[in-house]
Symmetry: D2
Subunit: 337 residues, 4 copies
């Protein structure tokens, strides 16, 4: 960390900064410049809490040089993490397609969609039993009944299932039924839920909050890892910007950015980002092309009667097209090796 | 709600839309235009779930005309809500100043600051016992010991206290000790926590998420109100934008916007928005000038040794200046009456 | 257009709205709802100026149903526009790669890079002679000497060249030397320059402003087209968001969004969006995968000594890799046909 | 400037960085840390161009410590700039209210509004003769006829006038007629127009682009100042964010932020930020309360028939209310002195 002094800071103010740094257990190295002095902090192994330094007289700002996350950082763990869920490996180089409806609505609906996505080659089934909805007056999910239906899907199709846990009360139940536990974008900084997820023995699919930076996403993954669960799959699902042509702006540059600094696998949810099925196939191709480890895609056999987010669900034949595109791209990158 | 058809939609597609609207229990009125047809939905008392309509062939988009919130809307409750907490009334026209440290650090520190803010005229004491921090490796608050210290503050100074509940596990405990329960910005869409807050008998201070629209903030307040707790104080605390001169961009236009559509009181937290004490007094004056019902301000007697957010805490004499400014502005608006 | 009345609007206010609509030359159709009345405007062929309507008593808001652009709209011109520049066609289905340095620095440097990008298969050469720089104290480009160098590049390599015009004074000169005239992101709403570009006989490459919506980009293209120049190539180059992992956030969803509503070709500039060469190859693949008609990429044979933006310029061998990736993807989509 | 090396950078890469810094004419001071080395650049009086450094092997990033602007910086010019326009001084401590219609529509309309705003105490008259409009099909202003009308306003009322120049062709003409020349938000980075404004002898009112940082705004002011015109009035008019309750989000924290780093006066345009007259009075009070040197407000005697932006224009009696509020606040701050 670098402490930047104001351009009129006095020598005794610089001295006070150095003393405070020493008090924190590190060493302070003053670097005099033409217009101002900076003080470099050396000797710290962990993040320095800069609150006290920032409050000293004569201090203009601090600049962090080292990232605040550690367990999820590529610097401490250079090899990519590969997560195994039943027959599926995530992060191994081949994209993993997770597909299904936004919400589990009934056994019949869920099994029908599961058969479709399996036939087209999906490797994981997705479907929400607990739905975080912005209005208290809309469908909130089937709860445990939904989880039981997901279990049947796994039994019948052999597909592992991923579904969302929304709070302390249901994460234990979700862990029992699901193969991968999803933490949604709105809960990305629900630290209490993250800590609880860190105690789970199943992998966590952690979605980026729609106003979260990459560093904040990785700090949230660090919460989970620091409690003992190293199996975190990150998911880019669009960020909130002024741009109004899609529901959220899919930030595909997040994929190479995350891979540069972290060893965790990262997938993309084009459905929630776009908010409209018309763009989902193109964005899915884009996601794989930039290097995503997989996709989380909504598919519905009858979107016009879906209980939530029907607008962004692919029709079965569109999902077939998506799978053919992805497979062709995968063969392509295979041949390149 | 208005259903906009594509410009090449067929008559039978328009008919299918009208039939679906009737199936939902409303009436569909087609409005032919030069370039396309729209279908108006009439007869609905509540929000229409447009998922099914959006999935029909020939439909371009839907446009909502009515807001999805009801209990917190000024249309259903024209008189402003006034909330009474001990000797303090919030929303009555006189700004209420809530002040104190970011975190409760010790009994000595907390009482020292409480005496200072009380002497300068603060009406409510603030201080965090449970701290949501983006890094798992930084100070997380004193927990129940912090709550006990806040109780002593109330006993000694007579000031009601506001403190944050961060999850299901601690909201009950917070309710026991505090006079106002704060839900933080990161939990604004933690619907499970909102529902639990709706069961509390104490007022809730609900902070706007840093990427939340006004409508989403009001929908979250609606969650609390729909469970039976009508006493919600909204709080603008800055939104996330590209602008980097402050930690977040304080959106003061939110105050007249909220007052136009809702009857709930709304206060402003200039400390978290600015992230630096240098701007807090100016932004506080601005907040009162646009019509805020109060302020939530951080004050520390020794910011250089604060355990969190010392950078944005006012010095005691700065807080004195702020209180003098606010009082003068209040007298001004009194005289105008 | 739909005029939404306030929920307490009187009948005579609705009547005044209808009279004003008739005064504008259209017909107003009232649609009474449970909570409020809306008035549909029918009979307009062009955009309705809603200023007067919005100022009438009892009016809450207006909602546009038809887009304000016409010439660049796919509704009025369903077939995609294909632009021919010498031997190159843009918008014909095969991606066109435009590559070269950020700035023309010298004849030697420019020709060296031109030979490299030509050898790897680029179809158009890019290089700036007039550089819009945010600081008045940094390199501003070689001006007309730069244009003469670009002419030599074309003569030697046969590659058409694209270069930026920054104002009225230089657009005529740029038109003389260049094959495609670029209008930069900062000038996207410089309407005076857009009108002048509309008088040019050469194609215009119009970059999206970093805070512009798709609709605003298309309105700016409409300015050019309305003056008589239909040959506009749009270019997505990243938008400004809170996300700080790249210089700007590349909005790849803009590609399918634009193609849905407009017939103009659209290319992607991954270099300016990323701001760092490390992400350029991945984002280039992503751009082609979502359907872009081409790329605008910065390449430098000696980025360490580039006079501007060296950080985002690809090394020659990286550009070779990019071209191989793009060609493989193109063959893939060929085979699919 | 600080050059941050990658954590696996070799000693010879650090040496190459130091040599390059020396080659640029400065001194490079290596600062070894626990995880990585940083190199401080010392001895530079001006901004260091970091392009070459960023392109060297082993370099992770650079961090600027000094701001890139100089003439407009408070560090080089600690006293606030006060600008005199006829009888009016801007930046002297008393807020200056500039008011009038969005566009000059006719002599009759303009004089009528001018008499109204003068009677209520406005000190400067505003009105657009050249209108930058996002659609080529809407009213673009009266041009020179509009300027002649503004001249009559000054002759009759004695109010100085401010009006916008939109390009090279009209800035000379605007300079002839107007007392203050406005550069609009969309032209904030039209460097060619900024340079031309720097040659004018009249003050420039420079509006912040709706996606510009404070630093970019100051760099644009630096362009004007560096050509010889030191009289620049900055204007905050809202930034583009996700928030949709107002047209743009008024960033009132920009006022104290700018005043901290620059000596230039700064005013606020609440009308364009809000987009609706309902919020203009509250935001005007807020602007003055945070320390703005003045306001730019739209007023129309007949907004329902305004040719542009009628929705955000105050009625005459609302403007009277605004002036009373501002005067009371000014007396208040007078008394405090």
């Amino acid at each position: 960390m670098l402490v930047i002094m104001k351009n009129d800071a006095t020598e005794s103010q610089v001295d006070a900064v150095i003393r405070e740094i020493e008090h924190l257990g590190y060493r302070g190295l003053p670097v005099p410049g033409a217009q101002r002095t900076a003080v470099c902090i050396v000797g710290n192994q962990h993040e320095v809490d800069d609150s006290r330094l920032l409050s000293l007289e004569g201090v203009k700002e601090t600049i962090r040089v080292t990232k605040p996350y550690k367990l999820v950082s590529r610097e401490t763990h250079p090899q990519p993490t590969v997560i195994t869920v039943g027959p599926v490996t995530i992060g191994s180089g081949q994209p993993v397609i997770m597909a299904g409806p936004c919400a589990v609505e009934s056994e019949e609906q869920t099994l029908a969609i599961a058969r479709i996505v399996k036939r087209h080659g999906a490797q994981v089934f997705r479907g929400g039993a607990f739905k975080p909805r912005s209005s208290p007056y809309t469908f909130q999910g089937l709860g445990e009944e939904g989880l039981r239906i997901l279990k049947k899907v796994r039994e019948e199709t052999g597909l592992p299932v991923v579904t969302e846990a929304t709070d302390h009360d249901n994460i234990g139940m979700v862990e029992e039924y699901a193969d991968i536990i999803q933490i949604g974008a709105r809960n990305m900084q629900n630290y209490s839920l993250l800590r609880r997820a860190g105690l789970c023995t199943k992998p966590i699919l952690l979605k980026r909050g729609f106003a979260a930076t990459i560093e904040e996403l990785l700090m949230s993954a660090e919460y989970i890892a620091s409690e003992g669960n190293p199996n975190v799959i990150l998911c880019e699902r669009g960020i909130r910007t002024f741009s109004d042509n899609t529901r959220n702006t899919l930030d595909l540059s997040a994929i190479p950015s995350i891979k540069e600094v972290s060893h965790l696998p990262v997938i993309v949810d084009p459905s929630h980002a776009a908010g409209r099925r018309e763009y989902v196939i193109a964005l899915s191709r884009g996601a794989i092309a930039v290097g995503a480890d997989g996709l989380l895609v909504e598919v519905h056999h009858d979107p016009a009667h879906a209980l939530s987010d029907g607008r962004q669900s692919l029709y079965p034949d569109q999902f077939g097209q998506l799978m053919r595109d992805i497979k062709a791209m995968s063969r392509l990158s295979e041949r390149e090796k």
